[in-house]
């Protein structure tokens, strides 16, 4: 198991190399001049040239990439073109906000969606099943930014229960968590339902029922554990992508997370900041995937043997 974990962690190196190479070259292919973007239209051409020199933008792309990777090996993600601050500190100052939002958003989604999914599956075609599936469909189809604005208008502007945005205490978490969690909740509900439906039709469940095992025990002890594998996969993937920043939700709620920073950096052609975000995102995503793989082993002991 430990060997497996170590192997997976080592595999991060080529992944980061590949991703950083791709992003670096895509950013360099993008039209426009970061120096001009930073200085604005009023700056004379000499100043733009001077800033290009200072930022090292006059060097060939490959030279810039090699320099960047050399710094990265020393744990230095470089300095943001726009703010002049170390990229790592820019990301670290925003990451707790992103992590908080992602965690509570996922928790909200998981706590509600799994029970709903189970009930829908066990009481297939009941009113409860149909209502929850309609909501799941709506949840998947509703754009985040629209839901966010509706929640702000309803619960902040009219009822004045929660602030409309910012990161200013627990109450400011409620609306963005619901916004973010709703989409995830919908897809997890659907996957839980279909997975449970598949499992409860298996022979061993029928056998358990025939043996007279308690219905609850059949569902929660025998069926759920086997049905959880695809659910955990979806939860892991969604949590991983949320760690990369929920851009629209962050923007609507002025949440000071990594997502907004990444989008602003792309607009400003701030290559070091974009690369830093992508690398951190890559590491987070890989770690979440690894955790999901480890969880498989705990959920299904048959998988554990494959890790050896």
């Amino acid at each position: 198991m430990y060997k497996y974990v170590l192997k997976r962690l080592l595999m991060l190196i080529p992944v980061i190399l590949g991703v950083s190479f791709l992003v670096f070259f895509i950013m360099s292919l993008a039209p426009g001049d970061p120096a001009r973007t930073i200085l604005g239209e009023t700056a004379p051409i000499e100043s733009v040239m001077a800033l290009r020199e200072e930022l090292g933008l006059n060097d060939p792309v490959i030279v810039r990439y090699v320099n960047y990777m050399a710094d990265l090996l020393h744990g230095d993600l470089g300095e943001s073109y726009k703010t002049g601050q170390p990229v790592i500190s820019e990301i670290l100052s925003r990451f707790p906000a992103t992590l908080t939002l992602a965690f509570w958003g996922m928790l909200f989604a998981v706590v509600l969606s799994i029970p709903i999914g189970i009930i829908s599956a066990t009481k297939q075609y009941s009113i409860m099943d149909r209502v929850s599936m309609v909501f799941a469909l709506l949840g998947v189809a509703t754009p985040n930014f629209w839901l966010g604005l509706m929640l702000i208008i309803g619960f902040s502007l009219n009822l004045k229960w929660f602030p409309s945005g910012g990161n200013d205490g627990w109450s400011s978490l409620v609306l963005p968590v619901i916004t973010l969690g709703t989409g995830c909740m919908a897809s997890i509900t659907r996957i839980t339902r279909s997975s449970m439906l598949e499992v409860i039709r298996q022979d061993y469940i029928r056998t358990a029922k025939a043996k007279g095992v308690n219905k609850k025990a059949v569902i929660y002890k025998h069926a759920l554990k086997n049905a959880l594998i695809p659910v955990v996969t979806v939860v892991g993937l969604q949590f991983g992508s949320l760690l990369g920043g929920a851009v629209l939700t962050e923007s609507v709620f002025s949440w000071p997370g990594v997502g907004t920073f990444l989008v602003n950096s792309i607009k400003a052609q701030d290559t070091p900041a974009v690369l830093g975000c992508v690398i951190v995102f890559c590491i987070c995503f890989s770690i979440v995937n690894l955790v999901v793989d480890i969880l498989y082993a705990y959920i299904d002991p048959r998988i554990k043997s494959k890790y050896k």
């Binding site: 426009g32 200085l39 703010t83 502007l157 200013d168 002025s254 000071p256």
Partner: protein, 520 residues
């Protein structure tokens, strides 16, 4: 199961702790905008902005949101007042000894917020530091050196005569830093952006990037008349336009510095809010590439000016929240001169000019643009031009692509805009000077040695009346050459709680927040 339960519990506790750190920790307030307000002199005023602050080092940024912050923390030698005149800030007086030498005297008794006296050494240090800056160094490129005479007197030696010195010193990049404090901080490996300290009306409290900047009143501030009338200000970047307006409606903000034209009417209709409208220094224009056919022909360019109905563009682009302009600078800009040739909307005249230029059957061209507002204005122009038989294709692109392609002169025409700042040369030179054709800002690719000479004279001539004549002449020539069609100037809109008073509005978006207070 028990073990799993413990793990889950531990995760939840960790998350709760993380949230307590990640969240501000303060209890939030959702007070109603019609509710009571702190009318004391210690009230904290919350202002919303449309973009985030990039740096609190005045030499490491050149953007409006960061300038809001640093202008309130630092002082400059001079400043531009509400009447757009340059007046002393830290400087008591100044005198031109000759065309390249200016003697300054500082006000007595000025201290930084930590109590350190402000001297000529701090001025020398700050201007030399600014000169090294890639972002704002160009503004003081005319300064050769600063000679310290004594604690209060110093001389600026310029490498060439320049009328732009004073307005450049008034730019947020001209902030005066405390030499001993900055050197000590930098020796410790820290950055001034993380702990800014100046002699401005406020002192720095905290900055959470992307979230908020908190400043409190500087009780050591030297200018008692302009001292803060509130206990402090909090600047909050809220990028989403609707969320920004809702935060104001909700009472979470006292002031909104950037109001979208779509929300203007909603704010006017709200009895708890007030909307301040002002003439901005921004102008939007339809720019023709004077180096490419058919726009290399002045008759065609004049025809375009007659064919475009500016009212249509104003209504379609910004719901009519602005005014149409004939001048090449916005009415709110410094140095605007009403000598531009006016082209009244006249499609028949446009057709005649086109026929005279040899385009009686019209022609087809492509306009480059970036941004939805300009796209809307372009569709109005497209419809106008169709009436005279000219087909305009629209190519909308992302802003950096737009700047690159128009910078290379690939465009037939483009939709552009310009925000003038306190120095007229910062507008005339990039827009009309021949060496700035393309990426330098002159997207009409206009090359006229006569205009170049006038721009140079306006910067170096010490005779103010002649400088004014130069600018008048430039406006006349470029409008006669019809290199653009100036379209409209969008109103500046600031929304606030109706009981909040004391905002000092600037036509070039450098509003002063020190006077803000709630009336009894």
């Amino acid at each position: 199961m028990k073990k799993t339960g413990k793990i889950v519990l531990a995760c939840l506790l960790a998350a709760a702790m993380l949230s307590a750190t990640a969240c501000g920790g303060r209890s939030s307030s959702t007070k109603s905008s019609s509710g009571t307000h702190d009318t004391s002199a210690d009230a904290i005023i919350k202002a919303g902005m449309s973009a985030d602050i990039s740096s609190l080092d005045p030499h490491d940024h050149n953007d409006v949101p960061s300038s809001y912050a640093t202008r309130h923390i630092y002082s400059n030698l001079v400043r531009v007042n509400e009447e757009n005149e340059v007046v002393g800030d830290l400087a008591e007086s100044w005198e031109y000894v000759d065309d390249t030498t200016v003697k300054f005297k500082l006000k007595e008794g000025v201290q930084f917020s930590d109590g350190t006296p402000l001297t000529s050494e701090d001025v020398k240090f700050s201007l030399e530091r600014q000169k090294e800056s890639a972002k704002v160094g160009h503004l003081v490129s005319m300064i050769d050196n600063v000679e310290v005479v004594d604690d209060l007197n110093f001389i600026i030696h310029m490498n060439q005569p320049s009328n732009t010195l004073l307005t450049s010193l008034a730019h947020s990049g001209g902030a005066i830093l405390c030499k001993s404090y900055t050197e000590k901080l930098e020796a410790e490996g820290k950055k001034i952006a993380d702990a800014p300290m100046g002699s401005g009306p406020y002192t720095f409290v905290s900055w959470q990037a992307g979230s908020q900047l908190e400043l409190k009143r500087n009780d050591n501030y030297f200018d008692k008349e302009r001292a803060a009338k509130n206990g402090g200000i909090i600047l909050k970047p809220i990028t989403e336009e609707t969320s920004r307006t809702i935060a104001l409606e909700n009472g979470e903000l006292d002031l909104l510095l950037n109001v979208g034209t779509n929300d203007a009417q909603k704010i006017r209709d709200n009895e708890n809010l007030a909307l301040d409208e002002y003439q901005s220094s921004q102008v939007e224009m339809f720019v023709m590439n004077t180096q490419k056919a058919p726009f290399d022909n002045p008759l065609v360019r004049q025809a375009m000016n007659y064919a475009i109905n500016k009212d249509d563009a104003l209504i379609v682009a910004v719901n009519g929240e602005g005014e149409v302009v004939d001048t090449y600078l916005a009415p709110g800009a410094i140095g605007v001169q009403d000598t531009a040739v006016k082209y009244e909307y006249n499609p028949e005249k446009a057709k005649e000019l086109l026929a005279e230029a040899g385009y009686a059957n019209g022609f087809t061209f492509t306009t480059f643009l970036s941004g939805d507002k300009r796209a809307r204005a372009a569709t109005a122009i497209q419809a106008n031009l169709q009436q005279i038989g000219v087909t305009m294709k629209i190519e909308q692109m992302e802003s950096s692509t737009f700047y690159e392609r128009t910078g290379n002169g690939e465009h037939d025409a483009c939709m552009a805009g310009w925000v003038a700042n306190a120095e007229p040369d910062n507008t005339y030179r990039p827009l009309f000077y021949s060496t700035n054709a393309g990426a330098g800002g002159n997207r009409a690719m206009y090359k006229n040695p006569e205009v170049d000479a006038l721009i140079d004279d306006a910067v170096t001539n010490r005779d103010a009346a002649q400088v004014e004549e130069d600018y008048k002449e430039i406006q006349r020539i470029v409008s006669e050459d019809a290199i653009w069609t100036p379209l409209y100037s969008e109103k500046g809109l600031i929304a606030r709680n109706k009981d909040l008073a004391g905002l000092e509005i600037s036509s070039f978006n450098m509003h002063v927040l020190t006077g803000l207070h709630y009336e009894q």
